[in-house]
């Protein structure tokens, strides 16, 4: 993955619009957050291979960025993303890595199911 290039990510988002895609969306603070700091409220969410179609999507912000996808009857969004890759299977892999490089949020789109 490399730091986000807004234009490249926007192009990838546009290329998936209006068709069936598989979504991976995840936020995490790590399973040990409360172990390390008992005052920390641990929370996260994860969905893999949600089958969606969006009308359009946007990447906005100055970095870290936000990405929102407008569905026919709903929304998908992720905040805090700063790295991306279009991999050899044509999947858009976007991640938000924290200051130590650890993954905090992940949003991925693929024309085929994720393994």
């Amino acid at each position: 993955m490399k730091p986000i290039d807004r234009t490249e990510v926007q192009n990838a988002i546009d290329s998936f619009a209006g068709q069936d895609v598989y979504l991976h969306l995840e936020t995490t603070n790590g399973a040990y957050a409360t172990h390390v700091d008992e005052a920390f409220f641990s929370a996260g969410a994860y969905i893999r291979n949600a089958f969606i179609q969006y009308e359009h999507g946007k990447i906005v912000g100055d970095g870290p960025y936000r990405i929102g996808l407008k569905l026919n009857i709903g929304w998908v969004y992720a905040e805090g993303v700063n790295h991306f890759e279009v991999d050899d299977q044509g999947r858009l892999l976007v991640a938000g890595l924290d200051f130590s490089g650890k993954l905090a949020v992940s949003m991925q789109l693929s024309p085929t199911p994720f393994e």
Binding site: E26, D87, K102
Partner: protein
């Protein structure tokens, strides 16, 4: 360390074995004792992707699989079984299915010792769910037939509630193998081992105590 017939190690994530019992395992292997490691997941949800990142969410499991094999080789494990479950989902699996996987392994291997986490004292939900299922599987064996069950605990309250560990293995004799096993899990441990060389050279007492003493609790049914 007592000579075992067969040691069965059960943990959910690649690297769980390295920190906790890789020295113990290496000693059993050097004594010729067969060791089977059931590793439930490939740590797909690990947050360490390198800095700058060398992995993605999708390539991470392939990287961690290779690291797991390297770590197993470092401590001489010949029977490494990757069960194909998914990181952070173990507690949501069917409890009976999980238990029956472990029961089948116990029936097949007839271990005299099983090593896993201590339920209630192992912090990560995957650790807890794995440990609970192992305990269920062992509990179903008639008491006098049961293998020993040694558990790893590290929650903040474990000493307070369980007392001091009743099993302490000094693994100094195989510490290089342990370091190799931990280091093999590069994507997870790279940052952690950066200052180890210096600590060894300085004979840092706390560090040496931590790396050379593997602490386990006999499970109380």
């Amino acid at each position: 360390m007592e000579k075992e017939r067969h040691v069965l190690v059960i943990f959910p994530h690649p690297d769980d074995e390295a920190f906790s019992v890789s020295g113990t395992v290496a000693i059993h292997r050097e004594a010729g004792t067969p060791v089977t490691y059931l590793c439930l997941t490939l740590g797909e949800m690990g947050r360490n992707l390198g800095n700058p990142p060398f992995a993605t969410r999708e390539s991470l499991p392939k990287i961690r699989k290779k690291e797991l094999i390297d770590a197993a080789n470092a401590i001489g494990i010949e029977d490494l079984r990757m069960l194909g479950l998914r990181d952070k989902t173990i507690e949501f699996e069917d409890d009976e299915k999980l238990t029956s996987i472990f029961t089948a392994a116990i029936n097949e291997l007839n271990p005299s010792l099983i090593i896993t986490f201590y339920p209630g004292y192992s912090v990560h939900p995957d650790h807890e769910a794995t440990a609970r299922a192992v305990v269920r599987a062992v509990e179903r064996i008639e008491e006098k037939e049961r293998p020993k069950l040694h558990c790893v605990a590290f929650s903040n309250n474990c000493i307070q509630e369980l007392g001091q560990p009743d099993i302490i293995h000094d693994i100094t004799a195989v510490e290089e193998k342990k370091v190799a096993a931990v280091t093999a899990h590069r994507s997870q441990t790279e940052a952690m081992v950066l200052d180890w060389k210096e600590k060894f050279e300085n004979q840092d007492a706390d560090f040496l105590e931590w790396i050379r003493k593997e602490r386990l609790w006999t499970y109380k049914f």
